[in-house]
Point group: C2
Chain length 308, copies 2
């Protein structure tokens, strides 16, 4: 709790996420005027009303208070520049945007998520601001996601959601071997899997090191054994062949890869890789695999290892 300190209060107000609007009208000489506002809210559907708050200290106050109407333009996620232009002391703010007159006469901007061209319905004095209530005379919207604002910074959740959805997920798995047996972790439904971890910003090596450390001491991270993508899950996997000093682990158990064990590996790509490992173990010659969850190619590697 705080005493009512304006700066602290402003920060607390800022926790409420908002869209960003540019509110426009024409001054008595017909010149377009406008300002950036996030203190907008829809009020009523029937009659259709919206409101926006305007500071009494604003140089636009009298123009908007006396105008027959105003338009509210809901900025879209790519319109940060327009928000900044209409928030700063710019000589001609409208020079920087493409706009037209709305049906009721206030300027409507191109490329917005929605606009509402309003007649003046009511003015309400409220402290250091005036609440402009407008009656929507005409409006339109588009599917373009809106620009947001929270705690003093723009937010573009739709853009970030698209970026997240388009990004490949990188997974690392450890094929931890001890004298032909492999460490397998029990899952649901009696299934088995290799230890797997998602790779974050820390990188593959660090993710592998942490994955191994979870299973106990004496496990040495080894070389890449397979790089494959799971197209269905949109995941990229990198598997490492690692050596254990003894067949014990905090989780899971070391098992010989006989067919009944392999049959319990739920992930088909992982199962194929372990079938290859079982076959290669018999002949003592290991390769590096590259492909996807159904097919790929293997390059045998020399038993010794160079380094650089």
């Amino acid at each position: 709790m705080s005493a009512i300190d304006p700066r602290t209060l402003r920060n607390a107000f800022g926790t409420f996420m908002t869209g960003v609007t540019v509110v426009t009208t024409r001054d008595p000489e017909g010149k377009p005027v406008g300002f950036t506002a996030n203190s907008f809210t829809s009020v009523s559907l029937d009659p259709p009303l919206v409101l926006v708050c305007l500071a009494n200290s604003s140089r636009n106050r009298s123009v908007f208070a006396e105008a027959p109407g105003f338009a509210v333009n809901i900025l879209s996620e790519g319109q940060k520049d327009i928000s900044n232009t209409f928030a700063r002391p710019v000589e001609d703010r409208f020079e920087a945007v493409t706009w037209r007159d709305g049906p009721f006469g206030a300027p409507v901007l191109d490329g917005v998520s929605a606009w509402f061209d309003c007649s003046r319905h009511k003015l309400v004095e409220a402290g250091d601001h005036v609440i402009l209530i407008g009656k929507v005379e005409a409006f339109d919207d588009s599917p373009v996601p809106g620009l947001g604002y929270a705690r003093g910074a723009y937010v573009t959740p739709a853009m970030e959601a698209r970026a997240l959805a388009s990004q490949a997920e990188l997974m690392v798995s450890a094929l931890i071997e001890y004298q032909g047996e492999v460490l397998l972790i029990p899952g649901d439904d009696d299934s088995l899997a290799l230890p797997v971890a998602r790779v974050g910003k820390e990188g593959v090596s660090a993710a592998l090191a942490q994955l191994i450390a979870e299973h106990g001491a004496g496990i040495e991270p080894g070389f890449i054994y397979a790089v494959y993508e799971d197209d269905d899950a949109g995941c990229q996997h990198i598997s490492f062949l690692c050596q254990a000093a003894e067949p014990v682990s905090r989780h899971g158990t070391f098992k010989t890869l006989v067919p009944p064990v392999l049959a319990k590996i739920a992930d088909p790509a992982m199962r194929t890789m372990l079938e290859r490992f079982a076959a290669e173990s018999r002949i003592g010659n290991f390769g590096v695999y590259y492909g996807n969850q159904v097919s790929g190619k293997v390059r045998p590697i020399a038993a010794g290892s160079g380094s650089q």
Copy 2:
């Protein structure tokens, strides 16, 4: 543009992103009451005023219109359930939340981004809603990011930004060779680089195929040549050794990896990899590399390739 159809108008209103609040008070019997609202806005700093709109059809209307005050709770990103509870006909909405009395007497919820406990300042009739204007008597905020709402769905931009920031970026590069020469792309400042592309949900193989296709026909995607992480940039790189049928490309040129050419490779990890390639080309024996941008290990692979 549309005629004023309430359903279309509601959708257009929904393009404006908002936070989500739960507005609370106590009824004349002292029972806590509350409802979910996103039609909140801060109005004035001095005096400190906020407003929220309440439908005339709401069963809470008379309670809130007659109460001496109300609290606005700005929900945080993890409080979707609370938003749903206070938006649905639930017998005792307060049973599902942890709350206490605010300093001015209205219920304040735990874990919110901010709360404002208000005295009633003014009521403004506005169409099918009433605008409750409250004077902030006490408030508090927390660093927890807020819950958002846009076009009928919750948004959590801070959560998505954290997920994006924590995700490893996966890059694919093509070491396209023709008789010992390698295709290099000119960059800024007279620098050179291998063709590189970011890997999205389409996966490494598809990204490599597209990268190669951009450079012309007759280039065969080959096997993994290096897997390395760039810890500085938080990127994971997978490089493929590919063969060109002829030394021509739409972009860049094929060059022999002599020291003056290698010196122009701006990325140190890429330069190290190409130095290895130059050395391996001389002895005709190629390996697979794994490491980070400064060190790693190479496993020589057999010249022939198996497949599965």
